[in-house]
């Protein structure tokens, strides 16, 4: 359970609904009203682990930049799946040892919650309602866990009804938590995918601090699926260690004995990738980690990954297993090169729309697409 040490509120945002909800649930915490550019002062928490301490300072502020962005996986040289992201929270209450936020938000002194969720919804409506022929996938899990703070902030009550009412967009709520109670009270009309990032229990226990255990995540997935939501799974990061093959095979088995594969929207795989600065931070913050012990090499995009032949073997092994357990579930790889797609699936997508269509069309149907009648291409060989 996330326990902040203090609440900071930007002056003028005190009455925002999300602030009121949080204050009602955390009545004992000290509250400070701060100016909007408070963060630009030297406000990094002191101590040995300022990044870790920053996670426990809950800061409510307005988002003044755009909410809707393209997923950063659309890096040149990598196959992209045309995913869009929106962030109502920046920073994460969980503390996975491999998390890129440790570098990306290194100087961030707080866990930031944006108070203007209505602006986010307006912005999304402007884009998706004006292009009813296009299908979109939008996720909230890039800069934070989508659900870990939902009991405190209640954003799902704003997001789910909004997306449930639209025929050409899927909202993905990506989590490592079991915080699903609010979702069970909402109707998704099949347009919300709740997805879990999974690693085998041995890795989850050792490296994913503050997350729900593997078994709890699966239990939550089953409950959400039974409540009518589509669900997804991301084996990302895929971590190479001496027992990876046995452990990941068992994890996949457990997933598909727990849930109904017919209502799984997608499964993705993505190799562990670490920038050189992140590698340094991991060594410093988690000196006992075994994550850096895999056979990783520095790739063209400046990130360390398991060397290509071995990660291709890992993808092939697990996707073959997945195809046995759940042959109709769409599958894709995240932040991988066309040569790796070629080796794993037998062909690389012609363009990013191919991948996007293989994920949206089976879940939204052909409704709302200008390519009506054309069968979605499954990229599984």
């Amino acid at each position: 359970m996330y326990q902040p040490t203090e609440i900071l509120i930007e002056r003028g945002e005190e009455e925002a609904p999300v602030v009121q909800r949080a204050l009602a649930r955390l009545p004992e915490l000290p509250v400070r009203i701060v100016e909007k550019d408070w963060e630009q002062e030297d406000t990094r928490p002191a101590g040995m682990d300022p990044f870790g301490a920053g996670k426990r300072r809950l800061f409510f502020t307005r988002q003044r930049a755009r909410f809707l962005e393209h997923c950063p996986a659309g890096t040149p040289g990598l196959v992209c799946c045309n995913y869009l992201i929106v962030s109502l929270i920046s920073n994460c209450p969980m503390d996975c040892s491999y998390c890129f936020l440790q570098d990306y938000l290194a100087n961030n002194p707080t866990l930031k919650v944006f108070t203007n969720s209505d602006d986010l919804l307006d912005e999304v409506a402007q884009v998706v309602d004006r292009q009813p022929w296009r299908q979109f996938r939008i996720g909230t899990g890039e800069l934070s866990d989508s659900l870990a703070l939902d009991a405190l902030l209640g954003f799902s009550a704003d997001l789910v009804p909004f997306f449930a009412a639209r025929k050409n967009v899927l909202l993905e709520l990506k989590t490592k938590s079991d915080c699903i109670d609010n979702l069970l009270r909402l109707e998704s009309h099949g347009r919300v995918v709740v997805s879990w990032s999974l690693t085998p229990p041995a890795i989850a226990d050792a490296e994913e601090h503050g997350t729900a255990p593997f078994a709890e995540r699966l239990r939550a997935a089953r409950r959400v699926q039974q409540a009518g939501y589509k669900i997804g799974f991301h084996f990302d990061p895929l971590i190479e260690y001496p027992r990876w093959e046995t452990d990941y095979r068992q994890a996949l088995e457990q997933v598909f004995t727990s849930v109904d594969p017919r209502r799984v929207a997608w499964v993705s795989f993505g190799s562990l990738r670490i920038t050189p600065p992140l590698r340094k931070v991991i060594r410093q913050r988690f000196p006992q980690t075994r994550l850096l012990s895999g056979e990783q090499v520095l790739c063209d995009d400046g990130k360390w990954r398991t060397f290509q032949a071995l990660r291709v073997k890992m993808y092939r092994t697990l996707i073959t297993q997945l195809n046995r357990l759940a042959p109709t579930v769409p599958v894709y790889m995240c932040m991988e090169t066309a040569p790796v797609w070629q080796k794993v699936f037998g062909r690389a997508p012609g363009c990013d729309k191919d991948v996007a269509r293989s994920l949206t069309a089976p879940n939204l149907g052909q409704e709302g697409t200008h390519r009506a009648g054309r069968r979605a291409e499954q990229l599984t060989a």
């Binding site: 012990s293 056979e295 790739c299 060397f307 290509q308 032949a309 073997k313 080796k343």
Partner: protein, 182 residues
Amino acid sequence: MATLNEQAQAQQIEVYAQRKRLSSITLARWQAWPGTDQAALFFLLQDLQCGENHLKDLLNWLEEIAARDERTIADILERRELRRARATPGSRNDKLKAVKVVLRKIRYPRLTRLEENVRQALKALDLGRTVQVSFPSDFEGDEVTATLTARNVHELQDGLSQLQQRLDDGRFQRVFDALDDV
């Protein structure tokens, strides 16, 4: 393995760091190890006399092997193949090179095996100097480059014939196969 008393050891490591102008971060990392591990590396460095960059490689690899294999660094440095590499005759650079080759092999067992298999497959091509075959760094990507060098039409014809023959008898295929074989 010989051991130093703790104080003397700490002092000797400080002196080594000053002499080699190690950064405070690198020194702190070494000093954060348990005493026996610090001493084991210190004894290795008596032979190798590494500066900052080589030492950082050693620290990285040793810490990563220790975490993966759940062994102490002192245990790793006692491995027979490493002791043999340390005893390599020749200059300090020869020893350093031999130790790093062995340590990299322990750190990256499958990648170094793949490199060796590709090397063997290339050797079996027996193409001489006319044709050079190269690969992307760390075998990331899917392009193999064959460069044919000729000073006249006869050499060009000869190189092409050799290439065609290696394609026909499957030896080139074995190079490509080796790239995926882990």
